[in-house]
Amino acid sequence: MKNKAQKKPAEKIAESIFTVCAIVAIFAVCSITVYMIAKGTPALRNVGVSPLLFGTSWKPTAQDPQYGIFYIILTSIVGTAASVLLGVPVALLTAVFLTEVAGKKLVGIVYPAVELLAAIPSVIYGLLGLMLLNPLMYKLEKMVFADSATHQFTGGSNLISAVIVLEIMILPTVVNVSASAIRAVPEELRAASFALGAGKIQTIFKVTIPAAKSGIMTGVVLGIGRALGEAMAINMVAGGSVNLPLPFNSVRFLTTQLVSEMGYAEGLHRQVLFTVGLVLYVFIMSVNLILQKIRKGAVMDE
């Protein structure tokens, strides 16, 4: 009896602590959402939805300012898509290698290496891109556009550099999530496949990977989220001019737009930057909603 009486207040306190913690998280999400919408929508009204979102001219400090962020949105979409398209096959095959092919010793080397890749701060990726990738790209650019009279040389800071940096940055996320998904595939499936006479590679591609599909998709979507939200590294290698996202153009992403102009912007220019933030926020939220859908789907499959 005494024991019960003592336990009750303690449990109540614990319960309320948990509740408070949960409320902090929920409150943070809600207040960020409300703030972004409150700060991001005035510019949509003041500039107009179509000239802002689909305008192609970004001249925020001009006498007659223009706030078209279409190229910036497009760059974020194209850059993210390209880095995911390039990164996912590499990541998936790495995951297959780690889980199905490599011996224990090799896994012991490769796996920590992949983990390490995830731990490197993004500014380091940017620095390496700046020092190694950009000069290389400039050489390539000079070769490709040797006879072009109209091309504006960017010194190697272009979309390709940004995509390569992003691709490497999303690798660990996709590898880790995919590897655990593949590991979770029941051994019986593989055994059944072998029993039917399938080879190892056949089994991997026809049985294991399809069985781990939803887990791999989760990894891909997380990778998209990472690529979409990255700012520091690509700010250092992408050049930062607002252009159509062509491979050798200097480009600006939604994230780098905020990073580079927030410090000096005022008035409507500042409002528009909040709208850029809102657009980014909506993108990230959509990616997360898709992620939740996939996870729900996976649970229902089981």
């Binding site: 970004w58 001249k59 925020p60 400090t61 001009a62 006498q63 700046l130 020092m131 950009n134 000069p135 400039y138 000079k142 504006q152 040389f153 960017t154 010194g155 190697g156 800071s157 700010n235 250092m236 050049g239 930062g240 001019s241 607002v242 200097s250 600006r252 990073v259 580079s260 102009e261 410090g263 000096y264 912007a265 005022e266 008035g267 220019h269």
Partner: protein, 280 residues
């Protein structure tokens, strides 16, 4: 119970010591005849970092009781903080805009900064005319050979929209918003690094930020030097403003002391010491 009593005695004892200490503190301040003490806060232009760091350090040495804090948030953000009342002084590396003046900010020019046009060290072009510079930045000229240099593409590097340096550069050359930048970078350091490492690159930075990694080229035969800027011969120069809400005379004693110091011999030495030019 006994322990409690001991803690209480100790606390009272410590309080007494503290009070005695603060009393003697008060006494000594009075003895030093109206020495000012407190905090002055500045915020604004990143271009003014060198100046503000040197000035606040030297000022605090002369007035140890006063703490000066400077944040480098950008010209517009600095003036905005001033107008909102969160800082005493708003730094801007440009003249104040009409909107800012309407909201009560007063332009106090403390120094003049030159903008240097820089190229990588291997560039053979050492001198351009204003027209040539304009044609480079508007994209009409895209190879150094057209300006008598090597056959090397020109990589046009500038700052992001809203930057004080970019605003000043474009305004002084009257090429506002018609520039065709190959790269828009968001700090002076980034421009320096990019120009230094990219063959054929051209960029612009504050005169005092120029270092040995790049070369600064002459404009219309006039080198970007202090003497030439003071003499009014070098075209690319801009004011460094420490804006206040209302005239300096209306400011708190602390802020007045700050401006007095800037206008004192020591303060003027600081300004010239960081490579800036004294306003007339």
């Amino acid at each position: 119970m006994k322990k409690n009593w001991m803690i209480k005695t100790a606390a009272v004892g410590m309080l007494a010591v503290l009070m005695a200490g603060s009393l003697t503190g008060c006494g000594s301040t009075e003895a030093n005849a109206a020495k000012l003490s407190g905090k002055i806060s500045l915020a604004g232009s990143t271009s003014m970092e060198k100046l503000c760091e040197a000035m606040s350090e030297s000022f605090m040495e002369a007035n140890p009781e006063i703490t000066v804090t400077v944040e480098y948030t950008g010209s517009s953000a600095g003036v905005e903080s001033l107008v909102q009342g969160s800082v005493d002084v708003g730094n801007a590396s440009r003249g104040l805009k009409d909107g800012e003046k309407e909201s009560g900010a007063v332009e106090n020019i403390v120094a003049i900064d030159g903008i240097a046009v820089i190229t990588d060290k291997n560039n053979t072009v050492k001198d351009v005319t204003t027209e040539q510079l304009v044609s480079i930045y508007t994209g009409e000229v895209s190879n150094w050979s057209e300006l008598g240099g090597n056959d090397e593409a020109i990589v046009v590097i500038g700052r992001e929209a809203g930057s004080g340096t970019r605003g000043a550069f474009e305004e002084l050359l009257e090429i506002e918003d018609i520039c065709a930048y190959a790269q828009e970078l968001d700090s002076t350091g980034a421009v320096l690094a990019k120009v230094a490492s990219t063959p054929g690159a051209i960029g612009y930075i504050s005169l005092d930020a120029a270092d040995d990694s790049i070369q600064s080229i002459a404009l219309n035969g006039v080198a970007a030097t202090e003497e030439n800027i003071v003499a009014g011969q070098y075209q690319l120069s801009r004011p460094f403003v420490m804006a206040t809400m209302g005239e300096i005379a209306e400011q708190s004693e602390l802020v007045q002391a700050w401006f007095d110091y800037i206008h004192s011999e020591d303060g003027q030495a600081v300004i010239t010491g960081v490579g800036l030019i004294l306003p007339e």
